[in-house]
Each structure stands twice: as structure tokens, then as C-alpha cells.
């Protein structure tokens, strides 16, 4: 047991592999937040008037709001005036016209992260939009996607080139008044990805955004907007990393998904922001609002997330099931180690008839980690025949970690069927013994049991991501034998 604990510590203390910092010349605004800062962000991005107005409305609303504290997370107060709200690599000021224009230093950074921005590379099946601090630095495969009528570009470009689409859909799922962090994002968001799939088009490759926080003292506030028109299909991936720093950095993103009639959106996240060191120093505060809207009949939105990074994760990817027969899914693996805290889950709002939702949440807590599932399943009176199945399981590794479950179930329709199940346990001594008696080392046994525990979620991930997620979990958990 003692020996195992030592191995566990060694394994847990594996280094964060994306913690390097790329020195870049940056064009950044002074820290602090005011209407002037928002005007400057908007001016830098040469935005049309409606965007600036929207940002200012959001900012004025934000001033009336107070920071929420209901989550099961603890952190020192955030000084919103001490954050840099805009930082861009200087070489990117005018925006790259093609990959050849991208600063080689940036390309090397992404290379190092394992995200090739060259279109011929290994991950040739994936189109990538790379966001570095506040701006999008490169989007690959644009031309090929353009042939199909698919728009995949940075948010700034979309505002320039497709203002009507942006105006129609921006804030239609997450209004600027939604919550403290979403409102802040609405006021100051700097970039992000935009994607529109025209009617009847099945996007032939995975679309992907890779977010990187590089500069110090900056907050990253990106915004993603994905619209799948009638009968369209898209699979979207999101990855995140940041350098290792002693101070905490804020990441408050907003993601809006809209699925029209018969459309399907599959959104996968592997979140690996810097989690802080083993004493809980530093790391990213990941306070994100993600919501999908199955706006018309027979649509489907599916969220898959693997959350291994961030000092604090606080997010609830949700689906509003408005269209009849629409389907919402949420698959999640959240791992907390050292002093990481996660309060995550989902909301499934059933409004349409015969709407269905499935929630599968796997929480793993190790060290002093704290992991909470918080979810809402709401069946409105109009949702005749609604169906929900929820399963949340927690695995505990170590006697100082914590796992909590807070499912809210609100049902106003007698024809609804809602089921919730949850269990919490640690890795069984008998399971470990069984593996070890067959010559499998303790670490491998733990890793085996953990991957078995997460299997149902991983199989929802696109292949490249599934491999990465598996590896990530292995690294984050090595030595976590209790």
C-alpha cells in the first residue's frame, strides 16, 4: 500500500507537457476594462456598428451583475481590472491571407503542440482554426470547404464577410444577458471560430479549433458560433493548452450551436488548459458557457467533453430541445488531480414533443481534486413523450479527494420518462488484486480500470481525439493508486 502510494505520487507529479511559453512581440491593450477598452477592441477588429452596440449593451448589463458563487469551487476573488482583454501577436495585425503568411514562430508553436497547420500533414482529415491569445492565426482547408458552401473561418472574418449571418444568430442561444461570464465575454470577446454548413451538406472532414493562451495576465474570451442548416451535418473538435504560470488566468468562452431541421452537430472538446502545479498554484479558471439549440424538428446536438486541465472548470454544455423529435446528448469525462476543481454537467431543456436526451458523466477525482456533477433535466408541459436517461459515475483515487452529484430534475408532463442513476466508488481492491495476480503492474491495472470506466465516453470521440484523450488521461493519472 505504502509503496503504491509512492508510485502514485510519482505518477501524479508528471509534468504538464504543453507548459512552454513562446516569446512573441504582441500588440496588447493595457489591462483593465472600460467602455474605451471595448471600443478599442471593436475598432481594432474593424467591426460594423451593430457589433460595437451589442458589446456595449453587454458591458452595461455586466456592470449591474454580481459574480456568482453557487458552484462547489473555491478561488480567491478575481480582479477584473487586472486582466488584459486583448493581446495579439504583432505579426498578425493585419491577418494572414494564407498559410504562407503566418509567422513561422507561430507555426512552430503549434507544431510543438502537435497541431500541424500545414494542410498536407498527418491529420489531413481535419480542418483547423488556430486561436492564439486573442486572435485567430490560421484556418486551414478553407478553399476545399468553400467549394461545398461551408463557411469556416475566424469570428473576425465572419463579422467582416458574413455580417448578416452573424447578426441573425449571434446571441440567439446565449443572449448577452445570460450570466456573469457570458455577459463579460459578449462585451470583450476578441475572436473565435465561425462555422456555417449550408442545407443538405455533410461536412466531409472534422472541423477543429485549437485554443492557446500564451501571453501573461491575459484573459482569453473567445466565441464560437456554429450553424447547421437544414439536413446538414458537422463534427467539430476543440482543444486547449496554456503555458505554466504561477498566477491564475481567466478563460471565459461562449459557444453557441444552432441546428435547424434535421441537422446534426457533434461537438467534442479535449480541454487541457494548464491545471496548476501539484500544490494548486497557478492554472486556468475555465468558466465557459456552452449551449446548443435544436431549433427545428428532428435535429440533434451531441456534446462530448474530456476535461483534464484547468485549475477550476465550471461549465455546463446544454441543449435546448425545441424541435419535435430532437435529440440531445452529453458525454463527459472530468478528471481532477492535485488541487483541481471541476463543477460541470449539463442542462437538457425539453420543450418539443418526443424529445430525447442522454447524459453520461464520468468523474474521476485523485489527490485533493474535487469533482462535482451538476445537471438539470427539465421537461416542460409541452414536451409530450419526452425521455431522459442520466448516468453519472464517480471514481475516487485517494482519501482526500471529493466527488459530488447535484442532479436537478423538473418534470411537468405526465408522459415524460426521466431516469437518473449515480454511483460513487473507489477502484476495488479486488479489481486491482485480480489484475496484479495476472502479472499486470499496479499502474497498468489502474490505467486499465480507468480506461474501462471512461470507455463509453471515449467511443463518442472522433478517432484522433480518442487516442489523445486516452493518452492525456494516462499522463494525468499516472501513479494515482490509492
Amino acid at each position: 500500500m505504502g509503496n503504491q502510494a509512492v508510485q502514485l505520487d510519482e505518477l501524479i507529479s508528471q509534468d504538464y507537457r504543453h507548459g512552454f511559453y513562446t516569446p512573441m512581440e504582441v500588440d496588447a491593450l493595457p489591462h483593465g476594462l472600460s467602455e474605451d477598452v471595448i471600443r478599442m477592441i471593436s475598432a481594432k477588429k474593424k467591426e460594423p456598428e451593430f457589433m460595437l452596440e451589442w458589446r456595449l449593451k453587454a458591458f452595461r448589463h455586466w456592470l449591474t451583475m454580481t459574480e456568482p458563487h453557487w458552484a462547489t469551487v473555491r478561488h480567491p476573488p478575481i480582479d477584473y481590472q487586472d486582466i488584459v482583454y486583448y493581446s495579439a501577436p504583432r505579426s498578425q495585425q493585419d491577418g494572414p491571407q494564407s498559410l504562407a503568411d503566418v509567422d513561422p514562430e507561430l507555426l512552430r508553436t503549434y507544431e510543438k503542440l502537435g497541431v500541424p497547420l500545414h494542410e498536407r500533414e498527418l491529420l489531413a482529415g481535419v480542418a483547423v482554426d488556430a486561436v492564439f491569445d486573442s486572435v485567430s492565426v490560421a484556418t486551414t482547408f478553407k478553399a476545399k470547404l468553400g467549394e461545398l458552401g461551408i463557411i469556416f473561418c475566424s469570428f473576425s472574418e465572419a463579422v467582416q464577410n458574413h455580417p448578416d449571418l452573424v447578426r441573425q444568430y449571434l446571441g440567439s442561444v446565449v443572449p448577452y444577458t445570460d450570466n456573469f461570464f457570458a455577459t463579460l465575454n459578449s462585451a470583450v470577446f476578441s475572436d473565435g471560430s465561425f462555422c456555417y454548413i449550408p442545407p443538405g451538406v455533410r461536412c466531409p472532414m472534422e472541423l477543429s479549433t485549437y485554443f492557446r493562451i500564451n501571453a501573461k495576465n491575459t484573459g482569453q474570451f473567445e466565441r464560437t458560433l456554429i450553424i447547421a442548416d437544414r439536413g446538414a451535418y458537422v463534427s467539430y473538435l476543440e482543444g486547449c493548452t496554456a503555458p505554466m504560470r504561477d498566477e491564475n488566468q481567466l478563460h471565459a468562452a461562449v459557444v453557441e450551436l444552432i441546428a435547424l431541421e434535421g441537422a446534426q452537430i457533434k461537438y467534442s472538446t479535449v480541454q487541457n488548459w494548464y491545471p496548476g502545479d501539484k500544490d494548486g498554484k497557478g492554472g486556468i479558471y475555465n468558466f465557459v458557457t456552452k449551449r446548443g439549440d435544436c431549433r427545428e424538428a428532428n435535429s440533434k446536438i451531441s456534446w462530448t467533453q474530456v476535461e483534464t486541465g484547468s485549475a477550476i472548470t465550471w461549465k455546463y454544455p446544454s441543449v435546448i430541445l425545441q424541435g419535435d423529435n430532437s435529440v440531445g446528448e452529453f458525454h463527459s469525462v472530468a478528471l481532477t488531480n492535485h488541487y483541481q476543481q471541476a463543477d460541470t454537467g449539463t442542462k437538457m431543456i425539453h420543450l418539443g414533443r418526443n424529445t430525447r436526451s442522454t447524459i453520461l458523466s464520468k468523474g474521476i477525482s485523485a489527490g485533493h481534486g474535487s469533482n462535482a456533477y451538476r445537471g438539470l433535466v427539465k421537461v416542460a408541459k409541452s414536451a409530450v413523450g419526452a425521455r431522459n436517461y442520466t448516468q453519472c459515475d464517480s471514481l475516487l483515487l485517494g482519501d482526500r479527494c471529493a466527488a459530488h452529484t447535484f442532479p436537478y430534475i423538473e418534470v411537468k408532463n405526465a408522459s415524460a420518462r426521466v431516469e437518473h442513476e449515480a454511483s460513487t466508488s473507489r477502484i476495488g481492491e479486488d479489481q486491482l488484486f485480480y489484475c496484479q495476480s495476472r502479472g499486470i503492474s499496479a499502474e497498468d491495472a489502474v490505467s486499465l480500470i480507468v480506461s474501462g470506466f471512461c470507455k463509453e465516453v471515449f467511443k463518442q470521440l472522433p478517432m484522433e481525439f480518442a487516442v489523445e484523450a486516452q493518452k492525456l488521461l494516462g499522463v494525468s493519472l499516472e501513479g494515482a493508486i490509492g
Binding site: L396, D399, H404, E410, H420, A422
Partner: protein, 440 residues
Amino acid sequence: MTNGTRGPFVNGVLARFAEEHEGLPGAALPWLRRVRSDAIGRFAELGLPTTRHEDWKYTSVAAIERRAFDTPFDASSNGLAERALARHALDGTHRLVFVDGRYAPGLSRLDTLPAGAQVGSLAAAIAARPDRLEDLFVADDEAPANGFTTLNSALWADGAWIDLAPGVVLDMPIHLLFITTRNDLASFPRNLVRAGAEAGVTLIEHHAGPDDASYFTDAVTRIVLGKGARVAHAKLQQEGRRSFHIAAIHAEQAQDSRFGSHAFAFGGQLARSEIATRLGAEDCEAKLVGLYVGSGRQHIDHHTCIDHAQPRGTSREVYKGVLDGAARAVFNGRVIVRPDAQQTDAQQSNRNLLLSDSAEVDTKPQLEIWADDVKCAHGATVGQLDADQLHYLRSRGIDEAAARSLLIRAFAADTLEGIEHAALRARLESLLPGGLPEAA
């Protein structure tokens, strides 16, 4: 924190305390005066909870807030209490009857009690042996509180006092019958139960009142279990359909003790029960079972909390609800496993049957786990009668209404498991929803 609201209700009870506290039991005891005045002070700060409090998110007490209730105590009998007693009495029990919040010795009946067992009115016990009660009241003062429990601490006028010396086991249950007879009346019953080491008792806390009166009951029951003690508490809530019923039951368990709670809620316009137990030492067991049956515009809320504070505790919780009409049920079941409570085994389930499209259920089973060597699970379901089961019964010649009744009854009936007392069991069976129709 002055986040509660102040309406006729709050102003009414504050005024009442000022006028009447000199006449409440134990007014001559300095420590009890202090407990009461501290409580009313806290209540003045807290006010009634609002739906902005997480624990009251689904239950609005605005309907109470808008009302001013009377509290005149009038010993004259109007015959209602006697008629209610005839209807609600249970054979084979010791019986303490409280009418409009005060002990009614003429209606109560205590059989011979073993030596070392004290069973009676709390007001009388405070007058006779205040020293034996002080620590219980002071401990209570430190327990987490909301507006309603603090109000009870300030204004209680009577209730049951049950004190069992170590090893004393009562064979017959004690039936605590609280009858309200008047419209506009507010009563604040307080029950204190102390079971010494290896002592054992079954309590039936029973609240009833007329359907045509609108009144308010704010009850608090506190149970302290010594080492190896066994206490079974059954609550039977049959308040009138226009009444407001808010109650808290708090148990504190010592080593090897067993606490069983059955909660049956049928009545009230707005009814809420908070049932909490703290497994404060090793090897405790707790079992919480509940059934709520609502129709019309009833609102029935249950908040339970099982707090595993020490190793090797076991808890089982099963709550079921049957909702018809425009009734609304709220269930919140909290299971806490604290860092020291290794080898805890906790299972919880909440199942709801919705019989009408206007009925509503809001359920939140929650687990908060701070230890690793535990087995914890919870489940919650909301659904309607199973179409296949209905079809099965109908294909065997049972008509639709009877088939529905049978299935509803089958759903509800297993909450009676563990109720051994014949008269109580028969009474509960007669109150269950559904059932076989009378033979033609």
C-alpha cells in the same frame, strides 16, 4: 443577513412574542428565556425563506407570509377534538394528544410504563425537571436553522418529552397526536426525545385537522440516540386540505445506534418536512422511507439529509410519490459522506408517478462525498403508469380503472415495509392511493 421578506406573518409573530413570551413555558428559567430571545432575534433577521434560497427554490411560502395567524389558547372544547380523536386513535399505543398546540391530558392515555421511562408533556417537564432538558435545548440552539425552526424555538408552547434511561425498551409505540381545531390558528409543537444507551422506542407523530379550516403548524422534533439505541419514527401527516404544515425532524446518532424514519404525507395545502440525521459515531444505521400522495393543488415538499460523519455507517433511503391533479411535489435528498466516514454504504432512491398532465415533480437527489472508501449510489425516476403492465391486466379482464388502481397501489405499497405495528399498518393501508375496488 436580512434576505427574508417581512409581511403580515412576520410582523404578527414578532408582536405576539413581545406580548406573550412571559406566559410561555419556562419563562422563569433564565437559560430558556435566553434561548427564546436569541431565537426570536435570529428570526427577525432571517424572516421567512424565499425561493432565492437554494433549499427553498421550488417551495414558495408566500401564501404563509401573506397571512396573520392567531394564537389564542382556549381550553374550552368544541367537540372537534373528541371527534378527531375517535377517527385518528390507534389501538395498542400509548397516546399523547395535543389540541391546538397544548397537551390535552383528558384525551391522552398512557399505559403502565417501565421504570426509567418518562413520557409526557414538554411544558410539564420544563416545570418539573428543567435541569434534565437544558443541554438538549442549548444543543438545539446550535443546529442549522431556517426561519421556521428558529420561530419554533422562540414560540413553542408544548409538545412531547420522552426520556428513556439506558436499556429501557418500550414494547408499545407512543402515538403523538396533534389535532388542530380552529381556523387561523398557528401552533408550534416541539418534541424532544432522548433514548439512552441500548434503549428502544417507536414514535408515531401524527398531525391532523379539519379540511375546512386554514391553519398553520410549525413543528420541530429532536431525537437524540445513545450508544446502541434504536428509535423508529413514523410521521403521519393528515393535515386539512387548506392548512400549512412545516416540520423538521432532526436526529443525532451515537455509536451502533439505529434510526428509522417513515414519512407519510397526505394532507395540507402546502406541506414541507425536513428530515435529517447525523451518523455522528461509528457503525450507525439509518433508514429513511417516505411516501407522498398529492392531488388538487397540493404542494408537498420533502427535504432529507443523511450526514455520515464517522466510519462504517450504513444508510438506505427510499422515497416515492404519486401525484394527480395539479399537485406539485418536491424532493431533495442530500447524502453527505465526510472525510472520516470511510467504509460508508449509502443508497438512495426517489421514484415518482405522475398521473396527470398538470402535476409536477422537482427532484434533486444529491451526493456530497469527501471520503474514498465508500459505496454510494442514488437514483431518481419520474414516469407514468407502464402501458405494458396496464395492457397485461386488461387482457386478463380487469377494467381500466381497476388496473390503474392496482398498479398505483403496487407502486406505493412497498413504502409500508418495516411497519410492524398492526393498527398503524392497517391505517396506512386504508390511506394508500389506488387499491382494489369494492366487490360488487
